[in-house]
């Protein structure tokens, strides 16, 4: 599997995401936001967590207009895989690759905590290593993770089985406890919790390993 991790000024989970891909056997290239093209043969693009452009204007809004983002969109439109975590999820909603918006947490406070997530669907290459209904512990760390969609979109997400994860105990006020959503073709996943912080027993546990492993498995054989 060949992965690219985008680096915006203010990204600070770029290394963590690259390490998680590498541990799963991927070859990783870091791509600077001023670049205009992704490496040609990339299977999956990681959009990492952090504070791209300092979260100024709106979280992810300026990164969504960076030079590299046109290539990111083209990659997704071609059917390429994209994983956006935390600020990366915010970038994906700002680019329109995923529906909805991430608002300020309902209690207005930043929250860093390991949380239990419910796997809502195993029907994607991100979640096929889990069973629907599994509870997994994945850390969150965000100030703006309150996923907000209108009723119509929510109904569509549900009907299309595109809600990947929900919170057992909602930390931020997200609509329907949503922690992560899939694109229509199920190849773009955006989530607020950090699976790359759950691939190491010495650090945040290992419940995120299955995601990176199942991606590698699917994309190696693809």
């Amino acid at each position: 599997m060949k992965a690219a991790v985008l680096v915006f000024p203010g990204s600070n989970c770029d290394r963590d995401m690259a390490v998680a891909f590498e541990r799963a056997g991927a070859k990783v290239t870091m791509v600077w936001h001023k670049d205009t093209a992704l490496p040609g043969d990339v299977d999956i693009v990681g959009v990492p967590g952090g504070f791209s452009f300092g979260d100024y204007l709106r979280c992810g809004a300026i990164a969504a207009r960076s030079p590299i983002t046109a290539s990111l969109k083209a990659h997704a439109e071609r059917g390429g895989y994209v994983l956006g975590v935390c600020n990366g999820f915010q970038v994906l909603t700002e680019t329109g690759l995923l529906p909805g918006a991430l608002m300020r947490n309902a209690n207005l406070k930043f929250v860093c905590r390991a949380l239990d997530l419910r796997v809502e669907t195993s029907q994607s290459d991100f979640t096929s290593g889990y069973n629907a209904g599994d509870m997994i512990s994945i850390p969150v760390a965000h100030h703006d993770g309150n996923y907000t969609v209108d009723d119509e979109t929510l109904a569509k997400l549900r009907a299309e089985d595109r809600i990947a994860f929900t919170y057992d105990q909602n930390p931020n006020g997200s609509t329907a406890d949503i922690a992560g959503v899939l694109s229509e073709n199920r190849r773009v996943l955006g989530m607020m919790p950090h699976p790359e912080r759950a691939v190491d027993a010495q650090h945040g546990g290992t419940d995120g390993v299955a995601m990176f492993r199942s991606l590698t498995a699917s994309l190696e054989t693809a």
Binding site: C13, G54, F110, R197, D200
Partner: protein
């Protein structure tokens, strides 16, 4: 062309320059200074930058050891962790700004200490902070708690450094002066450390980072003044932080260092351009000429005075290898940061400031730092504490509830969950109890961090209190299996012109010095914050100790488990007796009397070495500090989710705060082995209870663990926010 104000007695006084100091300036210059020059003197000679009251005593601290690569005097201290790697660390206060504007004051405190670390070539890998607030019922306290915690989180989270530890306390003595002490540590290669001394004549002096505005003009002088009721007027002297710029500045600086372009580098902290330029020139025995027309400016029509005293954040000054200018400029353009050649090094001892074609300051450079005043302030020894009056026997569960229902001893997750403590994906031990641990990326080594002080002790007995702060740091590092390496001290005191306050300072330094020597954890960096007084009332003397320890191999060294059902509870050290200045007295009986517990440094060393040597037998370990055996045992039980039974119900045994003690959880076989080893090592050890069931039981007094845990987990948010 702007004209500068005439120098009058009022203007001199407004700059915090005392008459004898002004006479000294006249002697140095053989003339009156102009307004800009006066500003430069005031910036260099205020307490914050010159350490004029404290230098005499700071010099007595042990600062050397085979593990020390760089002691005090640079931006931060450096300690060797083997394999060609080192840890660069320091703790610094941002007390005055945080009281005036809590969010920005705390945020820029974090920003300043991070800059100190990456200026030396280290990537920050951990942060901590030690916070002291007034009583929770004081009208300002809750706003300060919210603002300071959000400011620390806002800056550190965005920058991307894990905040892995710290302390929060409340006491009425901080009603008018909160303390915000920020610690940062970074990782560097030992052969790629950068220092501030300029070298080479005619070398370009380069300005890096954010633009200069009028923010914080006079901030360092403000930070060295007592507060009174005009405090609200001081808000414009607080700077505004931009962690996004700092993050880019860090990345750009580290990239720049890799190109070989940097001869020397210094961050712009207090009194920005002035202090950084003088520091580089002084250490390199060179002069500096600056042309302020080339300084990137955020505001129009700034004067030389304003630019020289601005405390705009996220800026650095560098002496550049001229052959590498193009490469260096390209790095800063990549990160969209300012890069401007603003001056050069000159051979003579001169600090020359040009602006709009005119000379705005022409001063002997060495005299600005070298001739800074130094005082031998009168001091009196703190009188011996009166003997402790009788302490009534208390139902031990009631005593425990008294502690954990206080925001001083309740769990602090409301605070540390607002800090990203996992970014960089190497946090091995998260904040909550004891030391935080961060793995050295890509290795099996790890570094442990703790920050400690018990101000009540220091007030009652500065020498023993100073020792105790170091001893507790030593124990916290030991309890996770780390070997203590070195220490940073952040000395927060009241007005040093009062002999009894100066006496607290002198005593605390003596105690700290003795302890760091005996425990082999030299002081490698530090900071002094004096004049923490409002309307004549000073804070509790608060010498915060930040300490760093090493785990050479996580698999072998880490004591990181939890107590389990059936585990034995062992006390390493003597049975508790000392209730003077204890948490129980303060929280339950509203008393602050008696002496501080005395620290037997030989016992500390022996018991600490014992824990480290017998890691293999220990499942979980915690040090016993304020709150005594009862609080330590409860915290272990709460963290593990298993009940605990302690045999005794004696108040001194449960709540005494005698030093050099640890609690250990292990199985029966391991306990036997530990007993044997303790016998050989001459260490006192005893079985005091066991982990069992779902209640906390001290003698005959008992309560459900779940109820106590709920109280412990909710008291901080309920009372302090």
């Amino acid at each position: 062309m702007t004209t500068e104000p005439e120098i009058t007695e009022e203007i001199i006084a407004a700059h915090g320059i005392k008459p004898d100091e002004y006479a000294n300036i006249l002697r140095i210059l053989n003339r009156d200074p102009n307004f800009t020059e006066l500003g430069i003197f005031s910036a260099m000679w205020n307490e914050h930058c010159s350490y004029k009251s404290s230098k005499k005593w700071l010099r007595t601290l042990p600062t050397e050891g085979p593990q020390v690569i760089c002691g005090p005097g640079e931006n931060a201290g450096i300690v060797d962790i083997g394999d060609g790697q080192c840890i660069v660390f320091k703790m610094e206060s941002h007390n005055h700004p945080s009281y005036i504007e809590p969010y920005q004051g705390a945020a820029t405190g974090v920003g300043g200490i991070l800059r100190d670390v990456f200026t030396m070539g280290a990537r920050p890998i951990a942060a901590m902070n030690s916070l002291s607030f007034g009583e929770v019922t004081h009208p300002k306290t809750k706003r300060l708690v919210h603002g300071v915690v959000e400011g620390i989180g806002g800056y550190g989270n965005c920058f991307g450094v894990p905040t892995v530890g710290g302390e929060v306390r409340f006491h009425p003595a901080y009603n008018g002066n909160c303390l915000v002490n920020a610690f940062a540590a970074g990782l560097a290669d030992t052969d790629k450390i950068f220092y501030s001394a300029a070298s080479g004549v005619g070398m370009p002096v380069v300005y890096l980072g954010a633009k200069t505005g009028r923010d914080g003009v006079g901030g360092a002088t403000m930070a060295s003044a007592e507060f009174d009721d005009t405090i609200e007027e001081k808000r414009p002297t607080v700077q505004v932080g931009d962690p996004f710029t700092e993050k880019r500045l860090m990345e750009a600086t580290l990239e720049l260092m890799a190109t070989g372009a940097v001869i020397s580098i210094q961050d712009m902290g207090a009194a920005g351009l002035t202090c950084s330029a003088v520091e580089m020139g002084d250490k390199g025995e060179l002069g500096i000429k600056l042309n302020l027309d080339d300084v990137p400016q955020r505001e129009e029509n700034m004067t030389a005075y304003e630019m020289m005293l601005s405390e705009s954040q996220e800026r650095m000054l560098m002496v550049l290898n001229p052959d590498k200018e193009a490469e260096a400029r390209a790095v800063f353009e990549k990160w969209d940061l300012d890069f401007a050649i603003v001056g050069e090094t000159i051979p003579e001892d001169r600090f020359l400031i040009m602006h709009q074609g005119e000379c705005r300051a022409d001063l002997p450079l060495r005299a600005l730092s070298g001739n800074a005043p130094e005082y031998d302030r009168p001091w009196v020894e703190t009188p011996e504490a009166a003997p402790l009056a009788d302490v009534p026997q208390i139902d031990p569960i009631d005593g425990l509830k008294g502690l954990i229902s206080s925001p001083n001893y309740g769990a602090k997750q409301w605070v540390y969950e607002q800090y990203d403590h996992m970014v960089m994906a190497d946090t091995v031990r998260r904040p909550g109890l004891g030391a935080g641990i961060v793995r050295v990326h890509g290795t099996e080594k790890a570094v442990a961090f703790t920050s400690d002080v018990t101000p009540r002790y220091v007030k009652a007995n500065p020498v023993e209190g100073g020792k105790q702060a170091v001893a507790e740091a030593y124990r916290n590092l030991t309890a996770v299996g780390a070997t203590p390496l070195a220490t940073t001290d952040n000395m927060n005191f009241g007005n040093p012109e009062k002999p009894e306050i100066m006496g607290q300072f002198v005593g605390a330094i003596q105690g700290i010095g003795e302890a760091v020597k005996a425990l082999d954890m030299p002081i490698v960096s530090g900071n002094v914050s004096l004049y923490n007084e409002t309307d004549g009332t000073g804070i509790l003397p608060t010498p915060t100790i930040g300490a760093v320890g090493l785990l050479k191999n996580l698999d072998e060294d880490l004591i990181g488990g939890e107590a389990r059902e059936g585990h034995v509870l062992l006390l390493v050290g003597e049975t508790g007796t000392h209730l003077g200045q204890s948490a129980l007295l303060y929280e339950v009986f509203n008393r602050e009397d008696g002496d501080a517990p005395h620290v037997d440094l030989t016992a500390e060393k022996k018991n600490g070495d014992f824990i480290r040597a017998n890691r293999a037998y220990i499942r979980a370990c915690t040090d016993i500090s304020d709150g005594g055996l009862a609080l330590a045992a409860f915290e272990m039980a709460e963290a593990a989710g298993v009940g605990v039974q302690i045999d005794t119900d004696e108040t001194p045994a449960l709540f005494g705060e005698d030093q050099a003690r640890y609690l250990v959880a292990c199985n029966f076989d391991q306990a036997e082995a530990l007993m044997t080893e303790a016998g050989k090592a001459g260490v006192t050890i005893s079985s005091v209870g066991k982990f069992v069931g779902d209640t906390v039981k001290f003698g005959g007094s008992e309560a459900p663990l779940a109820d106590l845990a709920a109280l412990y987990r909710s008291s901080f948010a309920e009372k302090a926010t």
